[in-house]
Subunit: 260 residues, 2 copies
Amino acid sequence: MSYRKFHLSISVHFILISHALAQSVIQIFPRKTNIAIGSKTRVDNELYCDSWRFSVETNDAGFWEYIPPRCTKFVESYMTGDHYLSDSEVVSSYSLDFAKTVNVSGDGKDAWVFDIDETLLSNLPYYEAHGFGSQFNEEAFDEWVDLAEAPALPASLTLYKELKQLGFKIFLLTGRSEFQRNATDKNLLFVGYSDWEKLILRGASDQGKLATVYKSEKRLELVKEGYRIHGSSGDQWSDLLGFARAERSFKLPNPMYYIA
Amino acid sequence: MSYRKFHLSISVHFILISHALAQSVIQIFPRKTNIAIGSKTRVDNELYCDSWRFSVETNDAGFWEYIPPRCTKFVESYMTGDHYLSDSEVVSSYSLDFAKTVNVSGDGKDAWVFDIDETLLSNLPYYEAHGFGSQFNEEAFDEWVDLAEAPALPASLTLYKELKQLGFKIFLLTGRSEFQRNATDKNLLFVGYSDWEKLILRGASDQGKLATVYKSEKRLELVKEGYRIHGSSGDQWSDLLGFARAERSFKLPNPMYYIA
């Protein structure tokens, strides 16, 4: 082998390997690399941020106010790449597996509760525009809600349709307020959700309550009306914990914010 | 630039990049690649398996009997590399953050409950020897327990010592049986744990109970004795759910097995 050919073969070899590795890194941790950060630091950072995500998603972290600054790029990459979609798909598929084991009776009382933001609808376009990890701006977010342009989270739309097919009554229980009812209705219908039993928003008397309390109270009302809440899907632990809980709860991913 | 020099520079370029990427892949998903599997399939597999891990760790998956065969290599890499250690470290650090907010009174009734296997002690050497995803062999596992050679999970040992410093009374609540008391005592002391308040193992009347029930009953006994269970650390949801729950629960990683 000539010297030139030897180097040519090394080049091709490493182009192939680095392409394969780059693919796995990009697909699993799609990220915008920061030239100023050395590769060792970047690796340590990714490892830390992925472990932070573990603690956040299992609720080990408890209440947290903002994404650790060193992890904002990591969260952006997670949310905008395949990882977030894949995580939600697997959650949906476990939800459906469970739903299929439920003996749905003919009395119309078999219920499933869905949260809306980051569950049925994705506000990713809003967070992409306003920056991951930037302070929450209620006014700007309300304007975004008014646009009624949030896309569906694909995995949830599929699950929603399957649950309807199976005969579940679907309740939408959101932290959004009554004044956002029209925009919410419009947005949900526009992206393909339909025929829910009831859309429950925060009324005047619900303002200022912790989400866990507000959502538990509303679930309790459903239970008192005779509904059997088999499943509950939400991206926040406050969608799932508290009282009058569903038989099975399904935590969707959300490393962007925490609602108590 | 001559042709030769051009290729030489490409070679060096890709050696550097591929080394950096290889490092991140190895550190975040340390894995043994299977030559027979194409890189696209491997990437899809890693993405799926990491999403499976999300569903398992959040308890979305509910009961599962075995690691999906396509994910056994993924789990092995996760467990034997930095990822598992990093995840447990961050959980421990959140546990300690919370513990520091507790007003430990002088009455000796402020308690913390630890599970043992995959919480204080790691059975990784056992699973490495017997294969990840192989069927659980109770006899072989009991022999391993008898050896009393399980290493400490480093993050838990640090937390344990800090909690003692803070004045917590420490209870060890394990699914192991009374006949394993001596080996368990010996193993714990050997790797650096000491001065626990009580080691609670399954007695004759606890055999056959679901772990969630057995552990809840034992916690309830502590509560009835006047203990305030502030924190609870365990790798299984059955360590943390049920009744007489701790004020805060800390789920440690374990994608190897599920105990109901």
